[in-house]
């Protein structure tokens, strides 16, 4: 009777159980170290303030409470105004959704042109765009501030969207260009003979087959833009600040006793959207939609 393999690995034999113990022991140990900060944050955010000052930081709360979360969302003081972080959360949402959508869409189009409508100097242009991936944020701060001022969108969400789109283009172009380079040219040719033109080929053939790379790009862009602090702190003031800047202002408020539970709740809220994107996007991450277009 043939052996039923459940994995393509070699026969393990009966000895060497020790190594498994060591390996899994180490894995568990490091996993615990990784998850500990999150556990502390969640536990702290669910405790009343006196308990935090008196007890251990990894002890379970005696009295569970969600009040810190409600306070963080609607009551806590960000700088001088005390309306919670909800306004800033929406700032970040608007900014991120707009910037991710625009930069992904343009990156897609760039990748399409750079691979399927090649022109003289296409590779040089791509090289220059690629260069944009390596420019440190700090270098562009002052010129960008000048530009935003001249355009009249300084200290506004549209201004931040512009900054993130410009900065993200290098990466989104890189992703889509590398994906479309492997996209069969024969499909484009077939579509041309079928009578499709530039945009119908793009929207009917290329875009519907781009799901895997769109997911990768969106995750990358969303995480970077949502988590950005430098541009947010530099190009926004007061009410227009994104979540990350607001969180900093919450934590750095120096009046009264420090509300660690509220701070932790605010920090978890700030991290939730990126987590959500990973959970939703990850499912599509591995799907190979291209199988079968060309002989497999």
């Amino acid at each position: 009777m043939a052996q039923q393999w459940d994995s393509p690995q070699m026969v393990k034999g009966t000895r060497m159980r020790w190594s498994a113990v060591v390996i899994y022991g180490l894995l568990l140990f490091f996993a615990a170290i990784y998850v500990l900060p999150l556990v502390v944050m969640l536990l702290t955010s669910l405790k009343p303030l006196p308990e935090i000052y008196s007890g251990s930081i990894i002890a379970l709360p005696h009295e569970w409470t969600v009040k810190p979360w409600i306070d963080a969302w609607g009551q806590t003081c960000v700088g001088l105004s005390c309306h919670g972080i909800k306004g800033y959360f929406w700032n970040s949402t608007k900014m991120t959704v707009a910037a991710v959508t625009i930069s992904t869409a343009i990156g897609m189009l760039n990748g399409y042109v750079l691979t399927k409508w090649r022109f003289k100097g296409a590779d040089l242009l791509f090289g220059l765009i690629l260069f944009g991936c390596f420019i440190p944020f700090q270098i562009v701060l002052i010129p960008m501030a000048t530009l935003l001022g001249k355009l009249g969108i300084a200290s506004s969400t549209p201004g931040l969207v512009l900054v993130h789109v410009v900065y993200g283009l290098a990466f989104t172009t890189l992703y889509f260009r590398n994906y479309y380079v492997a996209f069969p040219d024969e499909l484009i040719r077939a579509a041309m003979i079928d009578g499709a033109k530039f945009f119908s080929i793009f929207f009917r053939i290329l875009v519907p087959n781009s799901a895997p790379i769109v997911v990768v790009t969106v995750i990358w862009q969303f995480t970077n833009i949502w988590n950005d602090f430098l541009f947010g702190a530099s190009f926004s003031t007061g009410e227009s600040a994104p979540m990350t800047v607001a969180l900093n202002n919450v934590v750095n408020t120096s009046t009264g006793e420090r509300e660690y539970n509220v701070h932790m709740a605010a920090a978890v809220i700030a991290a939730l959207p990126t987590l959500l994107v990973y959970i939703v996007g990850g499912r599509y991450f591995v799907r190979g939609l291209m199988t079968g277009s060309v002989k497999g």
Partner: protein
């Protein structure tokens, strides 16, 4: 359907000459096969006819009209690609209808056309599937359906069978031939497979390194190859190209075949074409198909066929016949013997040569003399 004319077609990529002046013209309804080894420019030529590649020099006419500067979609052609190039995001039905959709054909008409073509190709039960859910042969049919549905003036096939397994390839070859007979369509078909070329074509264009070596019917190409390259490329096993010296002895001509370390062999020639007389006493290459060397000796050579004696080196029974590698004056030649031949390796045998199938080449230029 329409005629196709290629006039002095050239293609250059910078300094590189890909096509060096190709002249081919075929009538409406012909099946033209472009055949040659890889890198000969046959696919480039097909792409130029399709409008997927620009023409550096020369003119392409479809139905008498110059199409050099027309977009692929305006040339009224359809193409079947080697990889089938089915749109993976669309169902079979949408794949076939895409061209009509782009041309803004109303939906009821589209559906009508799709179902007709699907019935012809026996893929009507697959219409709602995605390409990924189809087998290789089914994808091939869908790709043909996409071309057929347009009723174009010229069909272009780019090595459409090379991704199929051997059995399916033979079946689809027959299907394509049937299709051509039924539709009477003009077809240009690119392949590197000489059997596909022989079986399908009404005209074959043999190409090498950007040049057209010979254009002719399958029979012409097979029996009267223009040069040693065409002779060697078409036909399997290959034509025997036997170098030798044409000699005359007491008024009787013979070809003397020599090789180092072997006794010279003589093939007596009762009659030779006039053109070969110029080679008397000089080197010449004789071209002889394996089936022109036979162990069928009816009449014992009395029918005028010259006989040769040769040692059998290897025999390869294929079923319908037995291929044998013979040593003639130290040169290996292949003969197609009868299936029940009892000759064994190492034995000496007598073989008859069919002189009507013998062709002669100039050894220096490789061109056919007679």
């Amino acid at each position: 359907m329409a005629s196709l004319e290629l006039l002095k077609i050239r293609k250059r990529y910078g300094e590189l000459d890909i096509l060096k002046g190709i002249d081919i013209s075929v009538d409406a309804g012909e099946f033209l096969v472009l055949v040659g080894p890889s890198g000969c420019g046959k696919s480039t030529l097909l792409n130029m006819i399709a409008g997927l590649d620009t023409v550096s020099e020369g003119e392409i006419r479809i139905g008498g009209r110059r199409v050099n500067d027309l977009h692929p979609s305006e040339r009224d052609i359809a193409m079947v690609f080697q990889s089938y190039a089915l749109y993976p995001n669309m169902s079979v039905k949408e794949n076939i209808a895409f061209g009509m959709e782009m041309r803004k054909v109303p939906k009821p008409e589209r559906e009508q056309a799709v179902s007709e073509v699907a019935k012809t190709l026996q893929i009507d039960h697959l219409l709602d599937r995605r390409p990924a859910q189809l087998s290789g042969g089914q994808r091939q049919r869908v790709a043909m359906g996409r071309a057929l549905v347009r009723k174009p003036r010229i069909f272009l096939f780019d090595e459409p069978l090379s991704n199929l397994d051997a059995q399916l390839r033979v079946d689809m070859r027959t299907e394509i031939k049937k299709l051509h007979q039924r539709l009477g369509a003009t077809i240009v078909y690119v392949t590197h497979d000489q059997i596909e070329a022989m079986t399908l074509a009404t005209r074959i264009a043999v190409m090498r390194a950007g040049e057209l070596l010979q254009l002719g019917s399958p029979a012409e190409i097979y029996n009267r190859p223009a040069n040693t390259f065409v002779a060697g490329f078409m036909g399997s096993p290959r034509m025997n190209l036997i170098p030798g010296t044409l000699k005359s002895q007491a008024g009787a001509l013979h070809l003397e075949v020599t090789a180092e370390g072997a006794a010279p062999a003589r093939v007596f020639l009762p009659q030779v074409p006039e053109a070969t007389r110029a080679y008397l006493g000089r080197e010449i290459t004789a071209g002889l198909r394996p089936e022109a060397i036979s162990d069928k000796l009816d009449g014992g050579g009395a029918d005028g066929r010259p006989m040769i004696e040769a040692v059998v080196e290897v025999t390869e029974p294929t079923g319908p016949d037995t291929l044998a590698v013979l040593l003639l004056g130290g040169r290996e030649i292949t003969a197609r013997l009868q299936p029940d031949s009892t000759l064994k390796a190492g034995e000496r045998g007598r073989f008859a040569i069919d002189l009507s199938k013998l062709v002669w080449f100039d050894p220096a230029s490789g061109a056919r003399v007679a």
